[in-house]
């Protein structure tokens, strides 16, 4: 187990180089630079522009800029935002809980709906229920997030008025940020109305972001269940006289979850990229939204640092999922 963790950790070095290089190259490929952004429509006198470029260190050759960036990162310094002048790591830390809250509920939604749907489709394969689950999940998988999010807003917020259009909580509530997780903070403040407001703001983004993982999980659960239901131990479990429900949940599903967990791990990366879109559409104050603003402002440190931190988190989550895979699979745990 520990050798396995070490082997995975060794992969971090090439991944780090790849991610920093890619983030650096991509942001510099976009036309324009931060100074141009600051000067706006009216333009700026060339002398001032040169001075600012020099101040930001942007007048040096690109390889030198990259080298100096990496050297700072290795010292734990991600730099400061060019627009707010706050430390990148600090800004990320403030905004990240909002993204985690959204991603967590999206994944929870995907699991709570997707796993039972996949089980039902497998147990009732080739029936209307199976076709319904497979059809809906195919549609969900093919739906672009921004389109799906807009449909949800148009229907539930605009048409029915059930849910708020955007944001994390209604403006009238002022909840002290203790954990950064709005649902927890409102409860800690003992403000139930604020909690309800936060919850209602969470619903549509959760659905918008959770739909693709839901579709993937439902399909994966179905195919894993179909495989497991053919196994000898399922027949043997039935031969013991166990109830149908117990055979399906305790024996078949327990085994089918092993491949599903891997899929869930792979979804986390997709979930964070989906969160960028979702946050932008719902004005959700998380790191995705922040990153998009960073790109628009050509705020190089924000974009590079944000991408690096998100990549690190995806790697860490995948590592945790791999370990979890060992925990839920006795054949690996007890080698």
């Amino acid at each position: 187990m520990w050798r396995f963790v070490l082997r995975r950790a060794a992969l971090v070095v090439p991944t780090f180089i790849g991610v920093t290089l890619l983030a650096f190259a991509l942001i510099h490929l976009i036309p324009g630079d931060p100074v141009e952004n600051i000067s706006g429509e009216r333009g700026m006198e060339p002398a001032r522009r040169t001075r600012l470029l020099h101040e930001f260190g942007l007048d040096r050759p690109l390889p030198v800029q990259y080298g100096s960036y990496v050297a700072h990162v290795l010292r734990g310094d991600l730099g400061h935002s060019l627009t707010t002048h706050v430390g990148v790591a600090q800004e990320f830390g403030t905004l990240f809980p909002a993204t985690v809250e959204l991603a967590f509920f999206a994944m929870l939604f995907a699991l709570v709906v997707g796993v039972p749907a996949g089980v039902i489709a497998a147990v009732r394969r080739n029936t209307a229920a199976d076709y319904a689950v497979m059809g809906v999940s195919l549609a969900g998988y093919s739906m672009p997030i921004f389109w799906w999010a807009l449909l949800l807003i148009l229907f539930f917020s605009v048409q029915l008025g059930w849910t708020p259009v955007s944001g994390r909580i209604a403006v009238e509530y002022d909840v002290p940020a203790v954990t950064g997780f709005m649902l927890i903070d409102t409860l800690m403040a003992g403000d139930l109305a604020a909690f309800r407001s936060a919850l209602s703001h969470l619903i549509l983004p959760t659905i918008a972001l959770g739909t693709i993982p839901l579709a993937v999980i439902a399909r994966m659960t179905r195919s894993a269940m179909l495989e497991v239901l053919r196994e000898d131990y399922v027949r043997a479990a039935r031969a013991k006289g166990l109830s149908r429900m117990r055979v399906i949940v305790v024996h078949a599903l327990r085994n089918a979850l092993i491949p599903v967990v891997t899929v869930v791990g792979l979804q986390v990366g997709l979930l964070l990229s989906g969160a960028i879109l979702t946050e932008t559409i719902f004005s959700w104050p998380g790191v995705g939204n922040w990153l998009i603003h960073g790109v628009q402002a050509r705020d190089y440190p924000v974009v590079q640092g944000g991408i690096l931190l998100i990549a690190g988190i995806v790697i860490a989550v995948n590592l945790i999922v791999d370990v979890l895979y060992g925990v839920i699979n006795p054949r690996i745990r007890h080698g």
Binding site: D232, Y233, N255
Partner: protein, 326 residues
């Protein structure tokens, strides 16, 4: 009164309009405490017969019969729920691949406990400590060394022989009157095979438990069973008491099975087995099922299906030209 009485058992696949019979009108009696060997090549419908008796045939398979009775109770009249209650309790079944038959995610103790909780005595069902004691004593009963330790083992940590002993312990947890053993030793090493068979023979003595021993291994039947039922392509070809059938087979198919046993064959130049394989369920001859493979086939064999004709008490043969006149 037989413990098990099966008349005209069919298991069909294919469409209702054109059924493909995996089991095609099987009659089978098992007396209390009796060991009946069900033999035949792979694909003969032996497992389907056992599964039908357990009520475990899955769609698209369809089971019908004139009568399936257990302990004088008409199983066909029971609801699915009542039928499921019998399974694992008074009728238990073990399978060919013991390691694959244990759920890899749970310990031996957990899987034993499931059976005890369902089919154990009232005291055991109510009390976890009593269940644990019963689990330990069951493992001891099937000769597993160091039972308390083994309760914590996962299936992949067991050898094939150990896994089959655990399966047997699970099967006898409900003190069954009938144990259906579907090729219980086929996947095991030769030395382990003998131990597991000896264990089964001992358990049936101690529990006065009847057994349907499904196998394609005739020597196993010769050693263990009281009576033999020879199946081929979904039908019973011959049935009779063990010594009688082994001394004088009545059906050319039984003869061919006996001839393919090495020890039975000593002195002959080479193994004499019948050429070909069991026809698939969608490819059954209209005449005698064996006709295409039978050395002794006459024209009538290809045109007319022989009936299962009985002579004395336990002997019946399905052949136009039996080796032994009934």
């Amino acid at each position: 009164m037989a413990l098990v009485e099966i008349r005209g058992l069919h298991v069909d696949f294919g469409s209702p309009a054109r059924p493909l019979p995996a089991v095609d009108g099987v009659d089978l009696d098992i007396g209390a405490g009796e060991i009946v060997g069900l033999v035949g090549e792979s694909g003969s419908g032996k497992s389907m017969t056992g599964l039908a008796l357990m009520g475990l045939v899955d769609a698209p398979g369809r089971v019908r019969a004139e009568r399936v009775a257990f302990d004088d109770q008409d199983l066909l009249a029971l609801s699915m729920r009542e039928r499921a209650k019998l399974a694992g309790g008074r009728i238990a079944m073990i399978f060919q691949d013991p390691q694959a038959s244990l759920d890899p995610c749970y310990t031996v103790g957990f899987q034993l406990d499931e059976a005890i909780r369902l089919h154990g005595s009232a005291a055991e069902r109510a009390n976890p400590t009593a269940r644990r004691e019963r689990a330990v004593s069951l493992l001891r009963e099937v000769d597993i060394p160091d039972p308390p330790q083994r309760l914590h083992a996962y299936p992949h940590q067991l050898s094939g022989g150990m896994a089959q002993r655990v399966m047997i312990a699970i099967a006898v947890a409900g003190r069954p009157r009938l144990l259906i053993a579907d090729e219980p030793t086929t996947a095991l090493d030769v030395t382990v095979q003998a131990q597991v068979l000896a264990l089964l023979a001992r358990l049936r003595r101690e529990h006065d438990m009847a057994m349907l021993l499904i196998t394609h291994d005739l020597p196993v039947v010769a050693e263990t069973a009281d009576r033999v039922v020879v199946m081929y392509a979904g039908q019973v070809m011959e049935t009779g008491d063990v010594p009688a059938i082994f001394e004088a087979p009545g059906h050319p198919y039984t003869q061919a099975l006996l001839d393919s046993i090495p020890e039975h064959n000593e002195g002959r130049a080479r193994l004499r087995t019948i050429a070909g394989v069991v026809p698939g369920i969608d490819d059954r001859p209209t005449g005698c099922l064996l006709a295409p493979r039978c050395e002794r086939a006459e024209p009538i064999c290809s045109s007319e299906r022989p009936l299962l004709r009985g002579g004395g008490a336990h002997r019946a043969v399905r052949c136009h030209f039996p080796l032994l006149k009934p």
